[in-house]
Amino acid sequence: MNNTLKFNLGIKYNLETVLEVVDCHKDNPNYLSYKEQLIALIKRYEEFLEPKGYIVNEIVNNKPRIHCLVTIGGEVDESINKCFKDFEYFEGMLLNALADNILYEATNALYKILSLEMEKEDLYLSSRYEPGNPEIPMSMQKELYDKIVPKFDLDMIISEGFMLSPSKSLAYYYETTEQDCAYGVDHDCSACESQCMHRMYILKIHKDNTIKVIQAKQGENLLEVLRRHDVFVNSPCSGKRLCGKCKVKVKNHGYKLEETEKKYLISEEDKDIILACYHIIDRDLNIYISNDKVYHKIETGYKAFEVKSAKYDSEAYVKENYPIGIGVDIGTTTLAVSLVNLVTHQVIDIKKMINPQKAYGADVISRITYVGENDDRKLCMLIREAIESMTMQLITENNYNWHHIEEMVISGNTTMIYLLLDIDPKALAIAPFTTIDIGMKVCDSKELFSEVDSFKVTIMPWISAYVGGDIVSGLFATHMIDKKENIVFIDIGTNGEIVLKTKDRMISAATAAGPAFEGANITCGMGSIEGAICEIKTNGNEYDIETIGNTEPVGICGSALIDIVALMHKQGFVDDMGYMKEPVMFHENIGIYPADIRQVQLAKAAIYAGVEVLLDVAKLTFEDIDAFYIAGGFGSHLDVKNSAYIGLIPTEVIDKVVVVGNSSLAGSIRYLLEKEGDTEIKAIRTQCEYEELSTSMKFNMLYVDAMLFNT
């Protein structure tokens, strides 16, 4: 590296931080107008705010020491003073805080440049040595000044008190070492005693014998910090302190646990565990992340379908060069990607993982809220990266290459697709829940993914904000349009979607069933993974439980929840109104709580009443139903009799239930293979009517009735 260097570091800033500094918080009713004022200010003063960096590299004690000076010119000082003279105090403060923030961001930019330069010489930077830090006397400022200012002939003076003018200037230096002792931490606050609002703490994330170091600002929420740095923590309620699931292991944390938090941390295994959403960063932390079992054992099944006429004619392709297609289902909870041979129609492989957006909330509303509050592309990038990396895995493991992919089709609920396509989803959460009509969108893979070859990507169209492409795909997979009988199709996931097909009509509706059957909002609830109670039997007061993987029970999965609620009612622990006096425990701390019963009531009543309303619209009754299709991974395991017993499905359909599994994924696969797929999907969209339940009086009445347990 040269011994003297000058850099234009560029104007970077963080609006939120600047506003925080002047005590403008997001809950302030005037927040938006303050933010606008700040943006206007930036435009007005832009030319005065350019930060510049000056470097002098000298050998001290046989090692390079890098002296840095970063400064914004004196015009800003004058402008700030003028604001105060004119009583424009707030504007003055904003400008002052803005200049500080730009200066700070400029030092970060410089750190990155210098780190890369040093890497070329196999050296690492120390943390920043800055005059005013405990071990560095202020007089160091003068040394730095003397070293740098004359070399560049800068218009800068230093006062007797070692203050630089222009005041928006920072002088500091870095040592260099052959080992990375600082873990890439530029601003190390640990030695400083000041309670400054910019204080940063160091979080060491221990996982698989590696340590990742991240820095977080004082006062930030632990869960938010972990998410931002892509450390996956399960958080169904998205940090609202409702679910008790965002457990992290932190050794010697010294935090005082809150009473409501302790309720979630009752088992022996909860030693050293805290709930991330409860705590703010005010100390250094050692966090241990275990390999999460959640990634495995996700339901992959779906009911087979037939292809009417094949899209890819085998004779047109040479055998070893068969094209492949990728069918994708983006569920709110799980993401499934399949690899399909387009000529033989063989589904070669399917991979599933937890939707990485889950760290930002279990249901679509939490995700939309996240986008509304943060206004960033985080959720969009997460899902795109996940699809790309899973596809990459699929093709590599099966000895294919990107260029073998002919096309991809993606289905998902409306919110998932909005997030994928980077469309602002806020309108989906506000009545009248309007959607934009993009029809059956076709785009090139390069528009969505970063390092792929070019291929066609088709997105399944939606019917409404809450009857999405996943349902269209499910209807397509089950050849619903050709059916002549009366068929009810329900997808019990985080939302409950219902479609009624009659001889000449197709009517859809959506209910906010809530994520109870996916384990969220339930005290001991969990997904269908190892350790989940999946079966329960009783003889008198004893309970025999079985768990997935035959391990120690950890919680209760959705399908078992139905059996348990039915059992509790049969045993008289729960009355017809859903009242339960006290929790019933099955194994140590695993049990069912009165509040859980209420969650189940809300969920089951929403589905039941939804079915009733659609039948009413079509002037049919339960007896008229010829088949009752249950889609969704959860549906595959549920006990039909118990589901009818608790009133999730009508008793009349017990013998007519058809479990169709993940029909959204099945539909995407059929689309890859079907010649006239476009025509049929367009027909589904044209024919399918939508019934809004949230404003329906009839629904509300039936919903209340359906809450009861009266069999």
């Binding site: 002047v22 403008c24 009583f87 707030f90 405990p134 203050m163």
Partner: protein, 210 residues
């Protein structure tokens, strides 16, 4: 209190400078005295100070209210001189040598103005000499010193010692504040008063000269 004066107090709290300025003019036409208008302005500011202390409003609202207050003060300044209304006291305020932090200091300055003081702001990085010079020039009764760094808070002690050397320590009251400062520290270095926040500082200053 006349309706106009009441309105002045309310609009000041909302930070509506143009209306406060206009209504100060109206109040003068309605023959309210300058000291009555001053009381209306300071009364409004004092309510904002109380709300700030109780976390009902935040720094931006205080700043915007202060802007309105100063707009009003400008209008009545000539009349205050004419009527011979004096401020309740003169004070100097500054961040000590070696320290450039000024948000807190500015906020204290505004609250002091709002409490009826005449405030002379010496800025940041202020040396002992500069404080002493200003005390003699302005005949100030109180000096307020601010420091945000543990490394610069010791300079407060140096300034108090310099006042003693000059033999003027007893002519002024010394108030100190800033994030690392404590009551204990204030006692150690012989300051007269420490205040944890801007609103308290203004209340305590009034007591100091009462």
């Amino acid at each position: 209190m006349s309706e106009t004066l009441e309105q002045i107090g309310e609009l000041l709290q909302k930070g509506n400078m143009p209306e406060v300025v206009r209504l100060c003019g109206v109040a003068i036409e309605e023959e309210s005295s300058a000291s009555e208008i001053l009381d209306a302005l300071l009364g409004g500011m004092s309510i904002i100070g109380g709300k700030f202390k109780r976390n009902e409003v935040f720094v931006p609202e205080v700043l915007i209210a202060a802007r309105a207050m100063n707009g009003g003060l400008e209008v009545i300044k000539p009349l205050l001189l004419e009527e011979g209304v004096e401020s309740i006291g003169k004070m100097l305020i500054g961040t000590v040598k070696g320290d450039l932090h000024d948000i807190g200091k500015n906020l204290v300055g505004m609250m002091m103005t709002g409490a009826g003081f005449e405030v002379i702001d010496l800025g940041v990085d202020v040396s002992a000499e500069k404080f002493i010079e200003a005390i003699e020039e302005h005949n100030a009764e109180i000096i307020c010193m601010s420091a945000l760094l543990t490394t610069t808070m010791v300079n407060m002690k140096g300034i108090i010692e310099a006042l003693e050397e000059k033999g003027i320590r007893n002519n002024v009251k010394v108030m100190i504040g800033g994030a690392p400062i404590t009551d204990q520290f204030a006692k150690e270095i012989g300051a007269d008063m420490y205040a944890p926040d801007a609103a308290t500082a203004a209340e305590e200053a009034k007591k100091l000269i009462a």
